[in-house]
């Protein structure tokens, strides 16, 4: 039990059987204590101590206390902290443990921790944790080392049974000499009194001090309770759960919402409807199968060879006309400049800015094919349309960027580019020919 309860009963009151343990002498001042200590020390005593309410200056020398080994202990703890800091970070973030040390159980395996392309082992970034762990373990060393070397906690101490001794934490100074000191004898009391002690008293020790039964039982029960969490964890680790986790807070599972079926007004939209109408341009799946010419550039299993000018969307681009006209071409040139020219070049020769840039820097970009490449020249329009929609080989699809009708407009323009670059004199209207053939 705690020392304090014991302190209450002085040796004089009736209680458990006691035996004298040590001699306690009281002094009125720190100076008197230091002088007395010198005398006790010179008399050759070894099992004794001085007690004071605050650390008294010069007492170490008077008693002959050797410098403590505590700093060494603290240094060792600090060094352990440093080592743990280094190893912990290296192991968990900078080592391919799964491959190099496959025998390590999974829950202890570290790995090369990829984060923002930083090096796995970058010492400057590891310093803070190493530093903190060094300090933390040193502090543990200082605190627990001090307690351990001092033999604390020591809740039972015969000295604390002496009433007078209680003033040691207030304003009095004491020397205690244990009776099992080899030098101890009848002269001891005289020595202390001669050294200026204001009072000398005997501290008694309780003879047999087995803790009471209930105390032991309480500890056993407490220990059993402490095992419960461990047992639960152990059980959870080997048990297989068939049910999903219990969600205490259900608001992720059951969220508030506006239901169209219940005709709920929805404040988010201006028209207050919960069920939203189709976004302009939305296509149903059937549209694709019903008009493969327009949407896929196919007729049956052949590539279409004509531009589907029958389609109202395309006619809209042509200003209502049902054939390819200048307006549609202009639209095509415009879209081509936006979506294709940076790779293929404005003339379609395959030397757009991206192509020049990547060739200069040898980035390894497959250059776009020229439109007058013999392979490309013979492609039917349906195939060109498909190239834009779905991409081809290394060229990425553009279908999700360009509406269908615009794609056809681009196809028409690409065809025109091909035509322009493979043109012969026969392609020029007759009245213009003479102008071109005339020598300058």
């Amino acid at each position: 039990m705690s020392a304090s309860t014991v302190t209450k009963k002085s040796a004089a009151t009736a209680g458990p059987a006691t035996a004298p343990h040590s001699l306690v002498a009281e002094f009125a001042s720190a100076d008197a204590l230091v002088r007395a200590c010198e005398q006790v020390r010179n008399a050759g005593y070894t099992r004794w101590d001085a007690h004071s309410p605050y650390p008294v200056h010069g007492i170490d020398r008077a008693i002959g206390i050797r410098a403590t080994r505590l700093p060494v202990l603290i240094f060792l703890c600090g060094a352990t902290g440093t080592t743990i800091g280094i190893l912990l970070q290296w192991w968990t973030n900078a080592v391919n443990a799964g491959v190099e040390f496959p025998w390590v159980p999974t829950f202890l395996q570290g790995y090369n921790f990829i984060i923002s392309g930083k090096p796995y082992w970058s010492f400057p970034a590891n310093i803070p944790v190493i530093f903190e762990l060094t300090i933390l373990l040193s502090a543990f060393g200082a605190f627990f080392g001090m307690l351990a070397l001092n033999g604390l906690p020591q809740h039972y101490n015969p000295l604390l049974r002496v009433d007078r001794f209680r003033r040691v934490t207030d304003d009095r100074f004491f020397i205690s000499i244990a009776m099992d000191d080899p030098k101890y004898g009848s002269a001891t009391r005289r020595l202390l009194e001669g050294a200026g002690a204001a009072a000398v008293e005997v501290a008694d020790d309780v003879k047999e001090s087995a803790p009471p039964r209930w105390f032991l039982r309480a500890h056993v029960i407490l220990a059993c309770f402490l095992l419960i969490p461990l047992a639960v964890i152990a059980y959870m680790r080997v048990d297989k759960q068939t049910q999903p986790r219990i969600h205490i807070v259900q608001d992720m599972d059951n969220q508030e919402r506006y239901t169209a079926g219940k005709q709920m007004a929805n404040p988010v939209f201006a028209d207050g409807r919960s069920a939203r109408p189709k976004v302009a341009g939305t296509l149903a799946r059937e549209d694709f199968t019903q008009d493969p010419h327009y949407f896929q550039g196919r007729i049956g299993d052949q590539w279409a060879v004509g531009i589907p000018m029958y389609h109202p969307e395309l006619q809209k681009l042509a200003g209502g006309a049902a054939e390819v006209n200048e307006q549609l071409m202009r639209r095509g040139r415009d879209r081509y400049a936006i979506f294709c020219s940076h790779c293929h070049g404005l003339d379609g020769a395959g030397v757009g800015r991206v192509a020049t840039y990547t060739t200069e820097r040898e980035i390894g970009f497959v250059p776009p094919k020229s439109y007058v490449d013999p392979d490309v020249l013979v492609r039917p329009v349906g195939h060109l349309f498909n190239t834009i929609t779905n991409g081809i080989r290394t060229m990425a699809p553009h279908g999700d960027q360009i509406p269908v009708a615009d794609r056809w407009a681009i196809v028409a323009y690409v065809k025109a580019l091909q035509r322009a670059q493979t043109a012969t004199l026969e392609d020029v209207p007759t009245d213009e020919r003479s102008r071109m053939t005339q020598p300058k």
Partner: protein, 469 residues
Amino acid sequence: MASIVHDRDNTLERPGQRAPLVTGGHDLHGVTEVVCRVAESRTAPAAWYLTMGVSAALLAALGAMIGYLFFEGVGVWGLNNPVGWGFDITNFVFWVGIGHAGTLISAILYLFRQKWRTGINRFAEAMTIFAVMCAGLFPGIHIGRVWLAFYLFPLPNQMAMWPNFRSPLLWDVFAVGTYFTVSLLFWYMGLIPDLATLRDRAKSKLSAFLYGLFSMGWTGSARHWHRYERAYLILAALSTPLVLSVHSVVSFDFATSVLPGWHTTIFPPYFVAGAIFSGFAMVVMLAIPCRALFGLKDLITLRHLDNMNKVILATGLMVGYAYTTEFFVAWYSGSAWELFAFKARAMGPWWWSYWIMFSCNVFVPQIFWFRWARTNIPVMLVVSMLVNVGMWFERFVIIVTSLSTDFLPSAWDTYWPTWVEAWTMAGSFGLFFFMFGLFCKFLPMVAISEVKAVLPHDAHAPAAGGHGH
């Protein structure tokens, strides 16, 4: 009883004399009496009951707010994209900063042999511990999925999942964790001899048992004192770099990012100075009512307050210097974003919080150039409160203005706290004052054995020689 000047004004520097550290002519027993009386009396001043009542209510509010947050998720706070940190991290940095003064007083002043620290170190350290508790709370609850909070620590797990050790947020876990642990050990170690004093004077069985349990059987043995003093010195030496590292690491949370207004190398020293600044203001703010209510005016003298006000003035100047440098560098760097961020601080939508910060932290403490102000209780109470307001706003300004207006104008957004955040913050003050109130009433508020060591304890000691052994 040693004869020393029975003069409560020990703030004057008389040539040839040391000003006493303790006034009122107390001897060893006198010091014990003054400090222990508080813990031993069956009642407490009415103001104490009032403080405890109010702070208990706020503490309950804190519990309710955290419960609500856990139940509903972080959506109950006003955070958004891009302002992902608001009151939560503002409060975190504010409270960690408050803690720093305690460690400075207990460790750094100890290493510099500033004996006057003995009057205030105990409760400054207590303040540190409670402030760090409040600080640790906020990152803990702001993570969204609180049940996964253990991801913060490198615990072996079947997913083989480890924290990223190159992240300042992880450094924070280690820095603040270490800081709290070491502060607690340091504080508790200092308490052991004083708890023994309370044990030896205890009248009731319960207090004898509890004080006895925690004083670990201390008998003031010279051999124990020897190791104790060694350990204390080393702990002080360890705490000194630790305290500097903690707020530096906290500032890395900002400085290692690329955000304009955060990405600056001045942050670590500037944060540390600010932390000490606000911490000292808090110590003054707490010391004034405590010494008046609990009759500690002889131990926490006017000279202590005077000294602390000088520290406030000095650190306030450092903080002001940092504010100015930041602005200068924003312009001098030639970085358009940096300059924009700072202009936005002073003149943007949050201009008022910037100017609250600037006036409270830079202009207000200037009054401490005058001795009458440094020794005038109402003046210093007001100044210390304003400094705390200013320092809270400093963190708010740094966090919110930088986050809300970053590089890309299309990503900008504003931030306004919800009532939940406001009450959580008020609740953290409740937690702080509740803990502090308990400490004041039940534990020795002044380090008894340390004050005794600096008393002129021998009859032949020179009069007014406050210098100890």
